[in-house]
């Protein structure tokens, strides 16, 4: 493994500023690492090598002229294949979009590239972000760089695996019910789902529009803060993006744990969490106490209803969003027969099992006679879940607990039992339903399995800064995890 690729974004940026390394060298190293490892890892769905080298050359020229745009200028990054990238194939992990060439860039990608970043390719994911293992990718599964027989989590599994395996220095993912935090946890990296509305969703292929949010995956908390700062902020093309100003997320980063009130929801520690995971999480809480934080007992009484509410709301919104794949304007088109036959055949052939399941579930939950009993009731439960957090945040500054009840599970372990796969989302889903920011930071290795464990931190709306500060305090105390040796 090359030393260059082990650098954080901040370190690489510093070396480029001191002319010790060029963007071209960093980009070549990243591309070589992808070429060497991705046959086994499966993190990429498309590599845009020539384009990346071109962007790197342009970055080096800017630097030579003294026109560096940001600390991300020249840094090789990846983006989940759910972001539209002009001229680079974009599939959302689905056959129905095979060969699709987007006519424009997503706002988040535009902002990264505007900051000078080098996007080297598109990262593997569960089809339409529906899944928790990246096994629902219609192209190939992605594997966990710590253990190739384990999943990297999902749906942003390619993003987390690529960052952990040192193929790229950072990445963007999306999180609808845990799709950034859970793979970050499984792969031993930092992942943030920002507050709903913090980052524009323009040009992000929609799954569940009231839950989807774009966020960073990186190897350090500081890098995640840097990436969020680059992509956050109002976008007139997304009417749900917030006009609130974006703070400097690096400013309070080193604030430490002293004085923080860390809420520990009692419902999250009532069994069902693997002992090795629970131990690492409890040790992290103990670390906070040692650093001068106060642990506060809080209650989130509707926790047990979150998965049920989510698996009505998310499929309902998905069934509507996925109606656009009809064989008319882009993507697969299975013709022959009339219009309705074309719609049904295109969708029957183009969608894999998980999107089909969710389209069916969502259509059912929204159909005449069932709307009040399912969708409306779930939206009311969503209010109750949000109120649980409002109440908890009266006595604490953030909430901490596990990301997932287990470490990375085996490929094939849950893929045939969708309900079991859904139930594993228990700790990550409330955050999306309540529209809060949530972060996953490594808190140790599972002693038996030698796989990473993540600690989840949830904050008040738009208080990403406190999550970064708390995560950084833990990171500084624990030091880095052992790097993955699987590839």
């Amino acid at each position: 493994m090359s030393g260059l690729l082990d650098l954080s974004i901040a370190e690489l940026s510093g070396k480029m500023a001191r002319r010790e390394v060029s963007s071209r060298e960093a980009t070549q190293a990243a591309l070589a690492r992808v070429a060497d490892t991705d046959g086994k890892l499966g993190a990429f769905l498309a590599v845009a090598a020539e384009r990346a080298l071109e962007l790197a050359r342009a970055s080096d020229e800017r630097r030579a002229r003294g026109e560096v745009r940001s600390p991300l200028d020249g840094v090789p990054l990846g983006v989940k294949d759910i972001f539209l990238t002009q001229g680079i194939p974009t599939t959302a992990g689905s056959r129905i979009l095979e060969g699709f060439l987007p006519p424009y860039d997503a706002t988040a990608v535009e902002r990264l590239q505007g900051a000078g970043a080098v996007v080297v390719g598109k990262l593997n994911m569960d089809e339409f972000a529906m899944g928790s293992s990246t096994e629902n990718s219609a192209y190939r599964p992605c594997r966990n760089p710590y253990h190739l027989e384990r999943t990297p989590g999902g749906s942003s599994g390619g993003s987390a695996a690529a960052v952990a395996a040192r193929q790229v220095f950072g990445a963007l993912g999306t999180d609808t019910g845990g799709s950034i935090r859970q793979p970050a946890s499984f792969c031993g990296v930092v992942g943030l789902k920002p507050t709903y509305g913090r980052v524009s969703r323009y040009g992000v292929i929609a799954f569940a529009s009231s839950l989807d949010q774009v966020g960073p995956i990186a190897r350090t908390v500081g890098d995640a803060a840097l990436l969020l700062g680059a992509v956050a902020g109002h976008d007139p093309r997304d009417m749900t993006s917030s006009p609130r100003p974006v703070p400097d997320y690096l400013e309070g980063l080193e604030g430490g744990g002293r004085g923080l009130r860390v809420g520990v929801p009692r419902e999250w520690f009532q069994g069902g969490v693997e002992p090795g995971v629970e131990r690492a999480v409890r040790e992290a809480l103990e670390t906070y106490r040692r650093l001068g934080a106060t642990l506060v007992d809080v209650s989130l009484p509707h926790t047990q209803y979150a998965v049920a509410a989510y698996y009505l709301i998310a499929p309902a919104e998905a069934s509507s969003n996925l109606a656009r794949y009809d064989g008319v304007r882009f993507g697969l088109s299975a013709r022959g027969g009339g219009l309705r036959e074309m719609y049904a055949r295109t969708r029957g052939r183009g969608f894999g099992p998980e999107p089909k399941r969710r389209i069916m579930l969502g259509t059912y939950a929204l159909s005449a006679g069932y709307y009040d009993a399912y969708y409306l009731r779930a939206q009311k439960v969503r209010t109750l879940i949000r109120r649980d957090f409002d109440r908890a945040f009266e006595s604490c500054d953030l909430v901490a607990g596990p990301v997932s009840p287990t470490v990375a599970f085996r490929l094939g372990e849950k893929v045939n039992d969708p309900l079991q796969m859904y139930l594993a989302d228990i700790f990550t889903i409330s955050c999306n339903l309540a529209a809060l920011p949530g972060l996953s930071v490594p808190c140790g290795m599972h002693p038996g399995e030698q796989l990473p464990v993540g600690l989840q931190l949830l904050g008040r709306p738009f208080d990403e800064a406190t999550l970064f500060r708390a995560a950084r305090a833990l990171e500084r105390e624990l030091g880095p995890l052992p790097p993955p040796r699987g590839v």
Binding site: L101, L384, A435
Partner: protein, 96 residues
């Protein structure tokens, strides 16, 4: 609650989704299990609770001004069209 094959076919027709016979069978089983699970929401009294219709804390953001702006040129917008006729997307005949 068991979902019948007939019910599965009805929903698939609403969703414009062609399912193979073996898919219908599997779908009936899996959806039944999921619907059984989500029924636990019935245990909650939500009669006095408002649904959460806005995910953004401040509610709806003011709409932007309705001004003419650049949009995709037709050639670009049609770039991924499976079939086209001039500057239109071509579809199977709708009116006999």
């Amino acid at each position: 609650m068991a979902l019948s094959r007939e019910e599965v076919r009805r929903i698939a027709a609403l969703a414009r989704l062609e399912l193979q016979p073996e898919e219908e069978e599997r779908m009936a089983q899996q959806l039944s299990a999921i619907l059984d699970y989500v029924r636990q929401l019935e245990a909650l009294d939500v009669s006095a609770v408002e649904p959460m219709t806005h995910a953004l804390a401040e509610g709806a953001v003011p709409l932007r001004e309705d001004e003419v702006a650049a949009s995709l040129p037709p050639e670009v917008a049609l770039g991924n069209a499976p079939a086209r006729a001039g500057t239109c997307f071509k579809v199977p005949r709708i009116i006999e």
